[in-house]
Homo-oligomer: 435 residues x 2
C-alpha cells in the first residue's frame, strides 16, 4: 500500500463524463489498497473564460482580484470529483487551497508555495477517505487567495507529494507519456519509460509543455518521483507512462542523448565589429534586459584586431523591440560596424545527461546536419545540452535527421550493450491544459 498523489489537468476533467472517468481510475487505485490525494485543475476552458470576464471589465485587472476569480475554476472541479467518487460508494472530501492550507507568498497570479499543512489530510486518509485538493491555488499569510500561475496545478501536486511523503506524484494529462521527439515531426518517436529530472529540466526550458518547469524543479529538489500518464486510457489500464526520476536512483550508467527539443519562435541579432573591451557585453545586453526582453542564447567569438562579433537570440515577439533598443543605444554604450538580424531561424537542441561522460556527441551532431546540407548559424553548449541555430525551414529535417542518427527510434537495449545503454529521451508535446 502506497500513498500516491494524482494530478489531473484541465482536459482530463473537461466534462462531467471525463470527471466520472477520473473517479473510476481513482477508485481502481483505492481498490488496490493505495491511499490517494487527488489534485485537479479547472475544467478545460474555464480558466480562460473567467479571465476573459475580468478582461471585459478592465484591460489590466488587479492581480489580487484576478486570483479570487480564477481560483473558482478548480473549486468547482474538486466538488464535482468528490460527488463522482461518492457515486462509486467511496468516501471523499474536497479541499480548496485555502482549506488545506497551502500557504504561499503574496505574489498574486504567480505565487510560490511556502508551506502546506497536511495534518487534516493524513486524518482523512487514515479514515479511508480519498482527499481531493484544488490545484493552482493557495492563500497568503493574510488569508488572501493566491494562484501559482499557469500550469501551477503540477506544482501543487508535487508540493503535496513532498509534504505528505508520497511515494510518487502521477501527472495525468492528454498524452500517455514523454516521447523521444514530437511525433508530428518524427512518426517513429517513441514513448520513454523513464527520464531524469535534469534532462526534463533542460527540455522543459527549451519549450516542452508536458510539465510545468517549476514542478520539475520542485520534484527534483525534494526527490519526488513524477510520472506522466494519460487520463484518456481506460480507467482499468495499467499503463505506466513515463517516470521522471533522479538519476542516482536506478540507472546503471547514464547514457548519451535524452532527447531532441526545438524552439520555433526565435529571432537572432548579431552585432558585427563590436569594440572588444571589458564591459561591452553588459553595454549591449543591459539596455535589452532593462526593456524586459528575455535573451536566450548568447554567443561571442574571440575577437581579432580589437573587434568581435556578438550574437544573441530573443523570442520572435520581442525581436522588433530588441532592434529598437539596440539602434537607440548604438554609439552610446557600444559601437558596432553593423547590426545583422534574422527572425526566420529556429533552435534545435540535443539534450542528454550522458553527454558529460561521452565525447564526440557535438561533432556527430554537426556532421549529421552537414550531411543534409543544413548550415549552422550559432552554436551554444552546456554540460548536458548542445544547441544550434539554423534556418527555420530546416527544422523538421534537422529533427528527423538527428532522431535517426542518434537512433532514438530504437529501443535502447538494441543499440548499446547493457552497461552503456543509451538514455531514453523525450520531446515536447502540445498540452492543451490550463491550471
Amino acid at each position: 500500500m502506497a500513498l500516491i498523489v494524482q494530478k489531473y489537468g484541465g482536459t482530463s476533467v473537461g466534462s462531467t463524463d471525463r470527471i466520472r472517468s477520473v473517479a473510476r481510475r481513482v477508485a481502481r487505485f483505492h481498490r488496490e489498497g493505495h491511499q490517494l490525494v487527488v489534485v485537479v485543475s479547472a475544467m478545460s476552458g474555464e480558466t480562460n473564460r473567467l479571465l476573459a470576464l475580468a478582461k471585459e471589465i478592465a484591460p489590466d485587472p488587479d492581480p489580487r482580484e484576478l486570483d479570487v476569480i480564477a481560483a473558482t475554476g478548480e473549486q468547482v472541479t474538486i466538488g464535482l470529483l468528490a460527488i463522482a467518487l461518492h457515486e462509486l460508494g467511496l468516501k471523499a472530501k474536497s479541499y480548496t487551497g485555502g482549506q488545506v492550507r497551502v500557504l504561499t507568498d503574496s505574489a498574486f497570479t504567480k505565487a510560490r508555495i511556502l508551506d502546506i499543512n497536511v495534518e487534516p489530510l493524513h486524518k482523512d486518509l487514515a479514515a479511508g477517505a480519498i482527499v481531493i485538493v484544488a490545484g493552482f491555488q493557495g492563500v497568503d499569510a493574510d488569508g488572501n487567495i493566491t494562484t501559482l500561475g499557469r500550469g501551477g496545478s503540477d506544482t501543487s501536486g508535487v508540493a503535496l507529494a513532498a509534504a505528505l511523503g508520497a511515494s510518487e506524484c502521477q501527472i495525468y494529462t492528454d498524452v500517455d507519456g514523454v516521447y523521444t521527439t514530437d511525433p508530428r515531426i518524427v512518426p517513429e518517436a517513441r514513448r520513454l519509460d523513464r527520464i531524469t529530472f535534469e534532462e526534463m529540466l533542460e527540455m522543459a526550458s527549451l519549450g516542452s509543455k508536458v510539465l510545468q518547469i517549476r514542478s520539475v524543479e520542485f520534484a527534483g529538489k525534494y526527490k519526488i518521483k513524477m510520472r506522466v500518464l494519460s487520463s484518456f486510457d481506460d480507467p482499468e489500464s495499467t499503463a505506466t507512462g513515463t517516470l521522471i526520476t533522479y538519476e542516482e536512483d536506478e540507472t546503471m550508467e547514464q547514457a548519451i542523448i535524452s532527447g531532441i527539443a526545438f524552439n520555433r519562435d526565435e529571432a537572432k541579432i548579431s552585432l558585427m565589429g563590436v569594440e572588444d573591451r571589458p564591459g561591452v557585453a553588459y553595454a549591449i545586453l543591459g539596455p535589452v534586459a532593462a526593456a524586459n526582453i528575455d535573451v536566450d542564447m548568447i554567443v561571442q567569438n574571440i575577437g581579432a584586431s580589437g573587434h568581435t562579433d556578438f550574437s544573441f537570440t530573443v523570442h520572435r515577439s520581442e525581436y522588433q523591440k530588441a532592434l529598437e533598443v539596440l539602434s537607440r543605444e548604438k554609439g552610446k554604450g557600444f559601437t558596432a560596424r553593423e547590426i545583422i538580424s534574422d527572425n526566420k531561424i529556429c533552435k534545435v537542441s540535443l539534450v542528454g545527461i550522458g553527454m558529460r561522460s561521452h565525447v564526440g556527441i557535438a561533432a556527430k551532431m554537426f556532421k549529421a546536419l552537414a550531411d543534409e546540407g543544413i548550415n549552422i548559424q550559432m552554436i551554444s553548449t552546456s554540460e548536458i545540452k548542445t544547441s544550434v541555430v539554423i534556418d527555420e525551414k530546416y527544422l523538421e529535417l534537422a529533427v528527423r535527421q538527428l532522431h535517426r542518427v542518434f537512433e532514438l527510434d530504437q529501443s535502447p537495449q538494441a543499440v548499446w550493450t547493457r552497461n552503456t545503454r543509451i538514455s531514453e529521451a523525450f520531446v515536447w508535446t502540445d498540452r492543451h491544459e490550463g491550471g
Copy 2:
C-alpha cells in the same frame, strides 16, 4: 455620511456590463460621502449552471460538496465588481464568506449565520475602500464552505448591516420596489414608499419573491431598515424604492390593508365525516408531515353528531403524494366517510397590520368576492391576514376586485383622513434571481 450595505442580486450582476453599471451606482454613493459594503449574488444563471453540473454526476449530490461548487458563483462576482470599481479609480477589496468571516452552522445548502467578524471591514472602510462581500455563503466552525440557501444573499446583506451597525440595507433587484399587487394582474398596482416588516413577512410567506423571508425576519429582529430598489435605473437615479421598516418608527396610525397576495400552486384535500375526537387532527396530519409534505392552510369545522369535516391545502406538486399517504392511513389512525380533493384551486389573501384594530375587513372581502359570483371554498384568518381558497380560474378576477374595493390603486391620503390613512400594501413580483 452613513454606512450603507447594498445587496445586488443575480440579474443586477448578470453581465460585465451590468457589473459596470453597479460599480457606477456604488461610486455615486461613495462620492456622496457614504461608506459602502456591497454584497453580491452570482451572475444570473450561474448558480443553476453549477448545480446542473453536479446533478449530471449524481441525482442527489452530497450537500457539503454542492456548497463548495455553488459558492464559486458569488466568488467570481466579487472579483469582477472589485475590478470594475478599480477602473473607476476607487479603492475596493473583495471578501469571500470565509474570508470575512461569516460563521454559520454546518447545515450545508441551508446554513444559518451565527456570527460575522467585521473588524477587518471597518479597517478597510476607514481607509476609504469599498468592501465587497460574497453573499449566500459562509464557513462553519471547521472551515467548511456553507451556503445559506436560495435567496440567501439578502440574508447576508441584512446580517452584515446588523453586524456593522449600518444605517440601512439596500436590496437592489430587477423591480423598483414593492407594489400593491402584481402589476401583470392589476395594471393600476402602485409602488409603495414604505411597508412594515410584519406585513412583509406575511406577504413573503404567501409567496412573495421580492425578498427572502429569512432576511426580513432577520432585519425585523435587529431593526435594520431594508430598502428595495431597482439596479436597472440609471446609476445616477435618486429613486428611493420601498422602505421596509419597523412599524413603531414613523407611522402615526397603522392602516388596514397592506396588500393582496396569492398562491397559484395550491391543492386542497378534504376529509368528510371524520370521527370527531381528540387526536384526530394529528392522526391525519402526522403521516403527511412524516412524508415530508408541507401543509399550508388547515381548516376544521365544528363537528355535528360526532363527526367533522377536515380540510387542508398542500403545494400542488405534493398533492398526489399526500393523497396516497391518506388512502394508506385511512382506516388505521382515522376514519373518514369520503376524501374529496381538488388541485385546481388558488389562495388569495388580504394582509394588513391594521386589521388588528379595524373590524369588518373580512366581511367586506367576502362581499366583494360574492359580488363577482366567486365561491369561497375555505377561509382562514390570522391577526393581520385573511385568506380564502377559491377556484383557480377566478384568481385574476378576485385580485383585481379586491384591489379596487380596497382602493389600493389610490394614493393613501386620498382615501383616508390623515389620522386613519391606509397603510400601503405590496405584492409579489417574479424575481428571477438566484443566490
